[in-house]
């Protein structure tokens, strides 16, 4: 049997990679991609815990479904924002979106 730790470590690594992507990427779309990676990592976590720890077995899976739903919604919304920003500023580069600057 595959130990639970395997899944957990995998999800951790995946989460860290996604996190790196969020911080390091400059294109808004690629940041979205990285966010998706993080969400996926969390999903693995949920399902693995559900499978190994939860006698009822379902709660984690249902949460994963919600995560996927929210992820889909988020991508849709985020793309809308990116498109809008691109039209306004002719770039999808987040470094140039610095209206909050002093």
């Amino acid at each position: 049997m595959i130990p639970l730790e395997n899944f957990l470590v995998l999800s951790g690594i995946l989460f860290a990679i996604g996190f790196y992507g969020v911080l390091a990427r400059r294109s808004a779309i690629l940041i979205l991609v990285s966010v998706e990676l993080m969400l996926a990592a969390v999903s693995i976590n949920f399902v693995a815990f559900a499978s190994y720890l939860d006698p009822d077995f379902f709660t984690g899976i249902i949460f994963s479904i919600f995560v996927i739903v929210v992820a889909a919604a988020e991508v849709g919304l985020a793309l809308g924002i990116v498109l809008r920003a691109y039209r306004e500023r002719a770039t999808a580069n987040v470094d140039e979106a610095n209206n909050l600057k002093w």
Partner: protein, 207 residues
Amino acid sequence: MQRIALPSQIDRVIVGGSLVAGAVLVPVLVVLIALLGADRISGPELVWWLLALIIVAAALGAVLLRNVVRAALCLVIVALGIAGMFLLLASEFLALVQVLVYGGGVTILLLFGLMLTNAQDDPVVQDGSQKPFAFGVGIALGAVIVIAMTDATWNTGTRSVVAFRALGDRLYRDFGVPFEVASLVLLVALVGAIAISRRDRDEEEVA
């Protein structure tokens, strides 16, 4: 809308990706099969290792590749790998959903986004100035999570296969209201996405 150069891109990605994947995967596969033969690991574990390798490699590709289209397509591989993981965890329904939503919808959306924002015009400089810091923080975060996960002792019980019917019962009976809320969220998000991304009237006039 600007030019769309998708087909040739996808060809190159598929061919190049397959070559790279093959070059990495084949030796690993050999090692794993050898381990399996020596009874050091079980069959599901072999599959897990393979999937894990693919997922990590693809994820790295998604955050490291300079070509945006390739990076986005790497996400598809990650999504599919995770769907495999779900299968290993005996939740076929989730695997299905994962393939449909991520492998299909999300990726297509992202690609559209890329196309519409002309991201490929300047594919080389995709990384921000704080990349080294991000690298350090990423490593640190990963290390923290991994140490935390392995440090703990998990009281693992028996596993059972998810029955579709029981899942449906839970989803629509116990989690009915959240489910409805989630669908509402989706709806609002879609409406919102349209509202945000559509041109204002005066903008159209200018255009």
